[in-house]
């Protein structure tokens, strides 16, 4: 039956396939432009001290910011999905408001915060953010936190509430339900959240640019390195660096896809 349906050809299916092909060509052309433009200089980029510095900077900052992101997103998502409190709707709107704002504006907001007397006091106490690598972590965190909260919340809400209720009647505290039932059931989704947050952190540019700028071998991330190369007319290196970003993105997306693949049981239900 399913096979028969799969082999059926009708106008709707053909139209969808054509639109799918157009979309693939549109996206693929951008990727092809990067690969064709930079492949020749990839070896050069991979041995460049600047590119390697920016790769390391991106890897370190996005790993730190994604970890902090998940640590903040989980309790926030739990609160939003499992409790009711006055002003909850307003909190939900606030959490998601920044998703629609340009990242450059978020970076500017951070710049204003860390340039305020409080920010200056933090700097005097040894916690400098503006024009420092720490600022990259803050920029990635502000951009990615609402996204991570949304993903984590969806994962937590997918757990059958009756399962949680039964666990409570069996003697589990709320923390034990979270640790023994919710977390194991959401594990794959939460790993996917981490991986995708990490990938977004790797590609973050606008907010970082506003808060820390792009200083060679100091606050230079991979996107920053591409920006500097383009600014100086070094398009070949820019494209070669972009290939490195593409490979990193492809790897993270592959991991996220594997982890979010439904189990054999749930596939058979569909």
């Amino acid at each position: 039956m399913a096979n028969h349906a799969a082999h059926e050809r009708d106008l709707f299916t053909v139209m969808c396939a054509v639109v799918c092909l157009v979309s693939l060509l549109f996206i693929g052309s951008a990727v092809a432009a990067i690969v064709l433009g930079g492949f020749e200089h990839l070896g050069e980029a991979l041995t460049s001290a600047e590119v390697l510095f920016s790769l390391r900077m991106s890897l370190v900052t996005s790993t730190i910011s994604s970890t902090i992101c998940l640590l903040l997103a989980l309790p926030t998502a739990y609160t939003l999905s499992h409790t009711n409190f006055p002003g909850k709707r307003a909190a939900e709107i606030l959490m998601e408001l920044t998703l629609s704002l340009p990242y450059i504006l978020l970076g500017f907001a951070l710049l204003l915060i860390f340039s305020s007397p409080m920010g200056k006091a933090l700097k005097a106490a040894g916690f400098a953010v503006v024009f420092q690598p720490t600022g990259i972590v803050f920029a990635q965190l502000l951009v990615n936190l609402p996204f991570a909260i949304r993903m984590a919340r969806t994962a937590l809400e997918d757990v059958n509430p009756r399962m949680e209720f039964v666990a409570r009647t069996l003697g589990a505290s709320r923390w034990e339900v979270f640790r023994t039932v919710i977390l194991p059931l959401c594990r794959n989704s939460l790993i996917s959240t981490f991986v995708l947050t990490w990938a977004r952190g790797m590609g973050e540019f606008g907010a970082t640019l506003m808060l820390v700028g792009v200083t060679r071998m100091k606050t230079e991330t991979l996107p920053g390195s591409i920006y500097l190369s383009i600014s100086t007319g070094n398009y070949d290196t820019a494209m070669a660096t972009a290939i490195i970003m593409l490979v990193v993105s492809a790897c993270t997306l592959a991991i996220a896809n594997i982890l979010s693949r439904p189990s054999a049981q749930s596939r058979s239900i569909r």
């Binding site: 059958n160 009756r162 399962m163 209720f165 039964v166 666990a167 409570r168 009647t169 069996l170 003697g171 589990a172 034990e176 023994t180 039932v181 194991p184 059931l185 189990s263 049981q265």
Partner: protein, 244 residues
Amino acid sequence: MATSVSIENLHVERGSFCLEVESLKIEPGETFAILGRTGSGKTVLLESIAGAFPLHGRINHGTVKVGDKNIERVPLHERGMGVVYQEHALFPHMTVGENIAYGLKMHRVPRQEIVDKVDAMTELLGISHIANRRPGIISGGEAQRCALARALVLSPEILLLDEPFSALDPTTKTLMYETMDDIHQRFGMTIVFVTHDFVEAQRLADRVGIVLDGRLRCVVEARDLLDENAPHMAEPDIRKFLGM
């Protein structure tokens, strides 16, 4: 050990649905069926007894007593109730044995005692052979037995069952009825179960409460449920519901 359940002036709202129960007393050791159509409020009543909703708010209110004790402020795990849902709500990341052991672990029971109790319970319910399997690969009847074992292993005073047999085939259903008789005889707890099946209600229950459109309309002896001359048959909508 069995205990009674008393409900007074219960009012529970779930979205646009509202459940009202003026008064209901379920006797110690009794098997009580909550009978009604789909969407009539049977499960909400069962979950109200279990403590799924706070009953001291502006919207939901009422009193649920176990024995003489008002349990509104009693934590869920201290209420002495076992809950089994129609869809079992087994933990899919644990084996059948681990599901049954879960409550014992949460109660900090010593490891060897957990092993002994889980072995005894799986044997009693005839599921020893699937103790190491995950819930995703066992049959509906086995999953139901597993959910029952998970609730029973803590020796609850009250067992709450939400349409426990509605998804089972007739043969498995009959076997489960026998299992229920056996469990009731052995443990002697108070059993409250939700059903929309008149035959099932008469087969298993001592008394039946009929819930229609969010109201507990009457409580009758199970043997009188379909008796044309019983007082509840004077109500046209109850007659209609019972197919008379």
